[in-house]
């Protein structure tokens, strides 16, 4: 790529396609399984270095993830924002837009939803919740749009743009909590509790599992339909193919980038709204920590397939829920999850790199 802003001529695009090349469903599943297994095997090393038995740690992790109804409900809640933001990241990557800004988009989405929940609290629940969710989505989309416009107008690579905006977005949460939206007298930077009418209802009465997961599933199915069964999705796939096919077919790179960023930002913003409305019932400092990286890891594990994001996202949700329980029970730090995630990503990326059909330069 000679110039970050302009689309490089096709002759220079040959080997940049390895992230985006399509693999068959069975190969994708095999690849994902292999990557995860390898990641667990390698992660045993640092566990042993810290003087623990990896098998015991993994057993505690498994028990923590699926050991009780409450644990499962907790894990589903954990997975919800991951699935939503990862499905957006997946279609961005498909269109060759490396959006790693879910964290910032999620953060501002949470702020917008919280503002609505606190300021329009006289609205009935049936209106308040959708309005809050939409506000979150719009805020996330606007946030993503900033990075897209910087790329399109000024050639600032979206990786740097979205990364920097992650830090800014997270600080926006701190800023509003120490400013107008903070709870006076609370020891922790948080907003006042939302009125009950803004709380997401639970999916199954008697559990903590909120309706967010249903929204996530709907988003996955809708994105899948959009991507594979509409002219819009076809244009995105053309952009992702990396050949001059897209240009011949009249698909605009600029428009495509703007569209996928808006969709991904919107989904991440809704994820942020769900997190505050369904889990914390208030805005909390740092609630978006690590979500953006999760989203990228999940999208990769799903081989950038919107439908496969659901199982991949659930896997990481259960993994994290299990890790938190493991930390509580046997004192193995839950940051182990990041080790597993990072390694899984690297293995998937290597497999994609090697699997891509070799081309001459």
């Amino acid at each position: 790529m000679r110039d970050l802003g302009a689309e490089p001529p096709p002759s220079e695009q040959q080997s940049t396609g390895r992230l985006f090349s399509d693999v068959g469903a069975w190969r994708a599943i095999l690849l994902a399984g292999l990557a995860v297994t390898l990641a667990f095997v390698v992660t045993a090393l640092p566990i042993m270095v810290s003087g623990r038995n990896p098998l015991l740690a993994y057993w505690a992790l498994l028990r923590g993830a699926v050991g009780s109804v409450d644990a499962v409900a907790f894990a589903f809640n954990k997975s919800t924002p991951y699935v939503l933001s990862a499905v957006g990241v997946a279609i961005c990557f498909r269109a060759r837009v490396i959006n790693i800004g879910s964290e910032g988009q999620l953060a501002v989405g949470g702020v917008a939803a919280s503002w609505i929940a606190l300021h329009l609290s006289q609205l009935p629940s049936l209106l308040l919740i959708p309005v809050s969710l939409v506000a979150g989505g719009v805020a996330g989309a606007v946030w993503a749009c900033i990075a897209a416009v910087m790329r399109i107008k000024r050639g600032v690579h979206e990786v740097l743009g979205t990364l920097m905006l992650n830090f800014v977005g997270t600080l926006v949460v701190s800023e509003v909590l120490h400013g107008t939206m903070g709870e006076p007298g609370a020891g922790f930077p948080q907003s006042p509790l939302f009125p009950q009418s803004a709380w997401l209802p639970s999916l199954f009465p008697g559990t903590d599992m909120h309706v967010g997961i249903a929204i996530a599933v709907a988003a996955v199915v809708a994105t899948h339909r959009l991507f594979w069964h509409t002219p819009f999705g076809f244009r995105l796939r053309l952009l992702g193919s990396g050949d001059n096919v897209a240009a011949y077919a009249g698909a605009s790179l600029v428009r495509g980038m703007l569209q996928v960023m808006l969709i991904a930002g919107g989904l991440a913003g809704i994820a942020g709204a769900i997190e505050v409305l369904g889990v914390h019932y208030r805005l909390i400092e740092g609630f978006s920590q690590g979500f953006g990286f999760n989203a990228v890891a999940i999208a990769l594990l799903a081989a950038l397939n919107p439908l496969a994001v659901l199982p991949a996202g659930l896997f990481f949700g259960f993994l994290e829920a299990g890790a938190l329980a493991m930390q509580r029970e046997i004192g193995v730090p839950s940051s182990l999850v990041f080790v597993i995630q990072g390694l899984t990503m690297i293995f998937v990326l290597c497999a994609m790199g090697v699997g891509f059909k070799q081309q001459r330069i």
């Binding site: 990041f338 597993i340 990326l349 891509f356 330069i361």
Partner: protein, 307 residues
């Protein structure tokens, strides 16, 4: 503005630019050889961690410095293997390495000390006044009364410039970043050159982390690099991939941060969170200002296969 404020601002500029410069010089090597250096954040964090726990356990600062370079290089070796050997995507692999670094450092910090977060307190590197020169007005205090790693970072720019621009090996490295096939045809091994460049980048970025843990703060905390690696990447773009210009890019971001920190002291009604946002906002503004004029190494981000 009186002289003391000015001196304070300028020495804060140099201080803040120091870790950025180590990381940017490393990233420069990696990117000049054709690999995006998104992983520098992780290399820096690992370096800060390796340096801190080694210095803490051995009570030796030199051992800590060595360990920080080695731990940065270790993470870099993983990236090098994945990108150069297995042709994995540079951007996303770098990101994955960053996640891995966050996880490993946080896990080992607790795991090595029996599940609890240890309180690591280290003696920080003290400023060393250069005899005679430090007596100069303003310049003396700003440039010649700094801790050892600061001198090292700025002096290092010279040999790196010399290496890249004046030696045969530097020419080969740049050739691999511009046109690996051509470099290959005259006998260079692009994969080996890239691996070496990335590992060197890791060692330098690791030292950048050591600046934070051993010189500035004297401790290690989770994710303590706070995106400084990414700011260093912006400094590379500002410096158009040239060592001395990159140094000025780092000083520019250092000055911006120093100014933002000082504004707080002047009692202006700006919240500390807005101040914390400024480095990222300034980096974005500068990148937008440069626009499309930045010309990156031609083959950056592209894999090389021998076939």
């Amino acid at each position: 503005m009186d002289a003391t404020v000015l001196i304070e601002l300028l020495s804060a500029t140099v201080r803040i630019a120091t870790p950025l410069l180590f990381v940017a010089l490393g990233g420069l090597l990696s990117e000049r050889a054709g690999t995006f250096a998104v992983g520098v954040e992780g290399m820096m964090l690992t370096g800060a961690f390796g340096g801190a726990i080694t210095a803490f356990a051995s009570r030796s600062l030199p051992a800590g410095l060595l360990a920080s370079a080695l731990s940065g290089a270790a993470i870099a070796a993983i990236i090098a293997l994945a990108t150069a050997r297995f042709r994995a995507d540079h951007m996303v692999t770098g990101l994955a390495a960053n996640i891995l670094a966050i996880g490993l450092t946080s896990f080992l910090l607790r795991g090595l000390f029996g599940g609890k977060t240890p309180v690591i307190v280290l003696p920080t590197l003290r400023p060393l006044a250069v005899p005679f020169l430090s007596g100069l007005p303003i310049v003396g205090q700003v440039l010649f009364d700094q801790p050892a790693l600061t001198y090292a970072a700025f002096l290092l720019t010279i040999p790196i410039h010399f290496f890249l621009m004046k030696t045969r090996a530097g020419l080969t490295l740049r050739a691999v970043g511009e046109n690996p096939a051509a470099a290959f045809s005259v006998g260079a091994d692009p994969i080996r050159v890239r691996v070496a460049a990335i590992v060197a980048c890791g060692a330098l970025a690791g030292l950048g982390g050591a600046v934070l843990s051993l010189q500035e703060l004297g401790t290690f905390t989770d994710g303590m690099t706070h995106g400084r690696g990414f700011i260093a990447l912006a400094a590379i773009i500002v410096g158009r991939w040239m060592p001395f210009r990159v140094m000025f890019g780092c000083l520019l971001f250092g000055a911006a941060s120093a100014l933002a920190l000082n504004i707080q002291g002047w009692g202006l009604p700006v919240s500390s969170y807005v101040i914390q946002m400024t480095p990222y906002l300034i980096a974005l503004a500068v990148l937008c200002g440069i626009g499309r004029r930045a010309r990156m190494p031609a083959a950056i981000g592209k894999s090389f296969t021998r076939s």
